[in-house]
């Protein structure tokens, strides 16, 4: 016998959550989470991530709409009756129980007999690398170890969905990378459905199959890390996922889904992404600027910083400042020098002019 997964998909249909009378924490969202995937809810603080997660857990009830897990409508089921477990931000380990008792806790309510419970709990601890720690109290563990106990406690129930609320936020920087890789590995090995909340875009890019970017109680964009990075839907996403320079531009012509744009005197062609001629925004990652290209925008170097592996430049242009990174550390450019900056073939994308955010 080994730990398996009963991974199931989750689906939100027009779900709204209102706290009290008028605090709208989640506003009419639709969301499909595939079975066996790790999906991240990413967004700035207060945008409704935790609330969404807690609605999956059954710790908050949706004010409107319906939630399905597998083929079951769970909208009205309380946490106890859902087949979902959660790893809390504070871990929420029971301080009066040993590690073993903590991990066995849920099994006891799930109809396993004593031997099986023990067996499974031991396997859970094995899986997170804590074999032999069963008799300790949570207070006798380090932060990272407590975290793993919390994961093991949730895992052993073989939940349909496993939830993580900012699981790395109480760990120090060095541990974060390691723990997030472990979580990802376990998820992939067992084929779990995991919903993972974070406000750290790097963390999200690193662990996710899909990322749901949230903003102001709604969903801004859903996609794979690559899609979000390379083709953000709007300025908010472009800015939130990685850094992007937003440059106002003018689409002068569209031909075969290719747009010709103009920034000042500089002209360039790139995929139109369904935009029409007229004003638009150009999003360019700092690494996708060609400093010193023959054809480009005129700029002045306002600031140059050497950070070891690369040079970071702040450039002054007619439309404002932008930020660029250059791999060329051997011949840095002087502050004050005038240069032309071109665009890479792939990377820069067109965005509609802001309506929101």
């Amino acid at each position: 016998m080994s730990l398996n997964s009963k991974a199931a998909p989750v689906s939100f249909r027009n779900v709204t959550k209102i706290y009290g009378k008028d605090v709208v924490a989640v506003d009419d969202i639709n969301l499909e989470i595939e079975a066996g995937k790790l999906v991240t809810l990413l967004g700035p603080s207060g945008c409704g991530k935790t609330t969404t997660l807690r609605m999956i857990a059954g710790l908050e009830m949706a004010s409107r709409g319906s939630i399905h897990i597998g083929d079951r409508d769970v909208t009205l089921l309380p946490a106890t009756d859902r087949d979902v477990s959660m790893v809390f931000q504070s871990y929420a380990l029971f301080p009066h129980m040993t590690v073993m008792e903590n991990v066995s806790y849920g099994l006891g309510f799930s109809g396993f007999d004593k031997a099986e419970t023990k067996d499974r709990a031991a396997q859970g601890l094995d899986l997170v690398g804590l074999r032999g720690f069963g008799d300790r109290l949570p207070s006798e563990l380090s932060g990272g170890q407590q975290q793993r106990v919390a994961v093991a406690r949730a895992l052993v129930l073989e939940p349909q969905v496993l939830l993580f609320d900012e699981p790395l936020s109480n760990l120090d920087a060095k541990l974060r990378r390691q723990v997030r890789e472990e979580i990802r590995e376990i998820q992939q090995n067992l084929g779990l459905t995991v919903v993972y909340v974070t406000h750290d875009q790097e963390e999200a890019l690193a662990v996710s199959d899909d990322i749901v970017v949230m903003r102001n109680a709604g969903i801004a964009q859903i996609g794979t890390p690559r899609e979000l990075y390379d083709a953000p839907a709007d300025r908010f996403v472009a800015d939130f996922i990685g850094e992007a320079n937003i440059i106002p531009c003018e689409i002068i012509a569209i031909r075969d889904d290719m747009a010709s744009i103009r920034v000042g005197a500089f002209e360039h062609a790139l995929p139109a992404r369904g935009l029409q001629a007229g004003p638009a925004l150009l999003a360019v990652r700092p690494t996708r600027l060609k400093i010193g290209a023959s054809d480009g925008m005129d700029m002045t170097i306002a600031k140059a910083t050497y950070v070891g592996s690369r040079m970071e430049y702040t450039l002054e242009a007619a439309f404002g400042q932008i930020f660029a990174i250059s791999e060329n550390v051997d011949a840095p450019l002087e502050v004050g020098s005038e240069i032309t900056v071109g665009l890479d073939e792939i990377g820069p994308v067109l965005l509609p002019v802001d309506v929101t955010g």
């Binding site: 706290y19 908050e60 106890t80 929420a92 009066h96 309510f109 900012e166 109480n170």
Partner: protein, 737 residues
């Protein structure tokens, strides 16, 4: 650049204590003057009259020559005044001078008393002294403090606790006062239990008093009367258990139910705390006594013959339960609220039903609170004196037996000491049992940031009975209080029910006379004394309690556990025991304060200090230590940190400690009854005196007044200290309903 303290050659603190020592020795009267706060001695023969003379004058006149060596300890520190702190001679000199001065002080204080040498072997060795001395006065007190703090400065200079003078001095100070006012009297009492009528020591005396049938008899098992020890134990266990359960019920209603009138319920449960405990006993008599309203009602309607069922175990049990449930509630509410909501949510997501969550997570996490509440109820019941006196009937308990041993015709100090020892053994036993039950497990939530959420409501199977019990109890409490008020305005209960303010007039009348007010009411004397004593004791209690809490939570030093145990010990010592031990310890030099107001103040400080400590610890452990540390790195020393950072953040704890110690000082009876004197009579002992004379009307009117006074004082303190409340979460969210 900050000046490095290790390089400084001026030491203002050192200078201060040296001067204090000189003033104490050469300027102030060395021995105790009649009234501590009166300054008559200044014009009455000072400085040459031996009663009022400073030690320096006595020695110069060739009297009390045993005081002379202390001069050495006063001169020595001057030698290092200009030395740097890191100079080894600095520390060595201060330690020597301080230790010698303090040690000599204690030695001579205990060796020489009002009859010369206190010990026969000393007489044998040195011959008859031909002189005598009385209790310590201002001079001796200040001189002793100076020696103590010279010593602690020396210890600090040697590098103890990072050379922190404030912390070392605070530790030294607390140890000395706790030793002097907790351990010393208890030790004295223990020896008193072995003293024979002739003044010798004998184990036989102790054993004969200890195995008295009135103490351990088991007659009640066969229809007779049981010994006071068994009665007390049985009663205390019952009271501890019932008050804990009721306290938990109230705490659950307030924190985990949708009950609407939580504030009213809270107010109602707090009322008994500001009520002198025996007043509830009186109200029960008005309700269920032979001519009580309920009794009369049943007699009229159902023809039930009135009985004296109330007098004895049932009455005392009901009265104590009413009186002490709020204490359990106050202990439990913090614990019940303190259980992190994510614990309970985590359990829910792990498939535990609400009932299982409550049973396996919430309740076990409340265990320390339950244990504390039980212990408190147990100790309060053991120490309670008023209710058994009023309602006990033939049900003898230790506290009343002790009282009658001391004040009754028997006047048997030895017996009182033995009884007090039994009482102390019970409470210390309970104290240990509690620690044992809690074991080494951890109940504090280990968590970083990010706790939010709300407590789930109780499972329905639990909430219905809980609400019903809470309502019944609240109703009963309300009726009792209405009775108290009503009882104060009737002529003579059960005999003549006409309304009258007669009792208030008797107690609190005043006249304008000769351009002033004449307080002609019978109660004024004890009323003013009570206010004064409580008003002095409350801030002192808060200070000692908070400093101790600061040391316990913020500093680490060798022997910290023993220190904590020592300071919390007086928590387990019933007031009755404190009372007996104080009169045994403090009616002879070196500390001779029986019959003064000081002994009352001191007894209140050490009776109530554990609560100040607890309140302080609770709120200090919530303040992040990085706050102090950042203040320390910013150049403040630990005293400045304590004053500028910790204290302002501790307002709620200060308020709690102030209010609690004030209220306790106003309502206490068990220790007070032994310590009052004609001059310093307290409200509670005065009222008990009225009750013994069957003057219920006056007693109840006085008690009602006290309740209102305390209400307004509590409100006033709230305003003065200001309120800081840190709410943790918003409204109860829908999911948990």
């Amino acid at each position: 650049m900050r000046e490095l303290t290790s390089e400084k050659t001026t030491h203002p603190v050192l200078l201060f204590w040296i001067i204090a020592g000189w003033v104490g020795f050469f300027l102030l009267p060395w021995y105790g003057v009649e009234a501590f706060f009166s300054f008559e001695w200044m014009v009455d023969g000072y400085p040459f009259d031996p009663d009022y003379a400073p030690a320096g004058f006595l020695v110069a006149q060739g009297e009390k020559l045993w005081l002379a060596p202390m001069v050495l300890a006063l001169i020595a520190p001057l030698a290092v005044l200009r030395k740097r702190k890191i100079d080894p001679i600095y520390a060595k000199m201060l330690i020597l001078a301080g230790a010698f001065g303090f040690g000599w002080m204690i030695l001579q204080g205990f060796a020489i008393g009002i009859r010369g040498w206190n010990f026969e072997w000393a007489t044998a060795l040195f011959g008859d002294l031909g002189d005598r001395q009385y209790g310590m006065g201002y001079g001796a007190l200040i001189c002793a403090s100076a020696f103590l703090f010279l010593l602690t400065q020396g210890i600090a200079a040697r590098g103890a606790i990072n050379g922190d003078v404030f912390v070392v001095s605070a530790i030294g100070g607390v140890i000395v006062i706790v030793t002097a006012f907790v351990f010393f009297p208890i030790a004295k009492m223990l020896t008193a239990a072995f003293i024979t009528d002739e003044g010798g020591y004998s184990v036989g005396v102790f054993l004969s008093k200890f195995f008295d049938d009135r103490l351990w008899g088991l007659g009640c098992l066969s229809g007779g009367r049981c010994g006071a020890a068994w009665n007390s134990l049985f009663l205390a266990v019952l009271v501890g258990f019932i008050t804990t359960v009721l306290g938990l019920i109230f705490a659950l209603v307030v924190t985990r139910s949708g009950f609407r009138y939580k504030r009213a319920l809270r107010a109602l449960t707090v009322l008994p705390i500001i009520t002198p405990p025996f007043v509830i006993g009186l109200a029960l008599i008005l309700l269920f006594g032979l001519s009580g309203s309920v009794t009369v009602f049943f007699a009229d309607v159902f023809g039930v013959q009135p009985t004296r069922w109330l007098y004895g175990l049932p009455g005392v049990l009901i009265a104590q339960t009413l009186a002490f449930t709020p204490i359990a509630f106050l202990v439990l509410i913090g614990v019940v609220e303190g259980v992190s909501p994510s614990m309970e949510e985590a359990a829910q997501t792990l498939r535990a039903s609400k009932w299982q969550v409550f049973k396996t997570v919430s309740l076990p996490l409340m265990r320390p609170g339950l244990a504390n509440a039980f212990l408190l109820g147990f100790i309060e019941s053991m120490a309670d004196f008023g209710n058994p006196l009023v309602l006990g009937g033939n049900f003898d308990v230790l506290s009343t037996e002790i009282f009658f041993a001391i004040v009754g015709a028997q006047y048997d100090q030895g017996k009182a000491a033995v009884l007090a020892m039994v009482l102390l053994c019970f409470t210390l036993g309970a104290f240990y049992a509690q620690r044992f039950w809690l074991g080494k497990k951890s109940y504090t939530t280990v968590s970083g940031k990010g706790d939010s959420g709300v407590h789930p409501h109780m499972p329905r199977a639990l909430s219905v009975p809980v609400l019903v019990i809470a309502m019944i109890w609240a109703g009963f409490t309300a009726v009792v209080y209405v009775m108290i008020f009503y009882g104060s305005v009737v002529e003579l209960w059960g005999v003549n029910n006409t309304l009258t303010f007669k009792h208030y007039v008797t107690a609190f009348s005043f006249r304008f006379e000769d351009g002033g007010i004449r307080w002609s009411g019978a109660a004024w004397d004890s009323f003013w004394t009570t206010l004064k004593i409580a008003g002095i004791a409350a801030p002192l209690t808060a200070i000692v309690g908070l400093i101790t809490a600061y040391l316990l939570t913020r500093q680490s030093f060798a022997g910290k556990n023993a220190f904590e145990f020592g300071t919390m010990l007086s928590f387990a010592i019933p007031g009755t025991v404190i009372g007996v031990s104080y009169i045994l310890a403090f009616n002879v030099p070196p500390i001779e304060i029986t019959g003064t107001g000081i002994i009352l103040v001191v007894s209140f400080i050490f009776r109530n200090m554990p609560v100040g400590v607890r309140a302080g610890i609770a709120s200090m452990s919530q303040l992040d230590k990085s706050l102090d540390e950042s203040s320390l790195t910013l150049g403040a020393n630990s005293w400045q940190t304590f004053r500028r950072i910790i204290l302002p953040l501790l307002r709620p704890a200060i308020l709690a400690a102030l209010v609690y110690s004030f209220v306790r000082a106003m309502t206490a009876i068990s220790a007070v009854i032994f310590l009052v004197s004609a001059e310093y009579d307290m409200a509670t002992s005065y009222i008990i005196g009225r009750v013994e004379n069957n003057d219920y009307g006056l007693a109840i009117a006085y008690s009602t007044t006290l309740i209102f006074v305390m209400l307004s004082v509590v409100a006033l303190m709230q305003v003065i200290v200001g309120r800081t409340e840190i709410g943790r979460r918003m409204t109860q969210s829908r999911s948990n309903v």
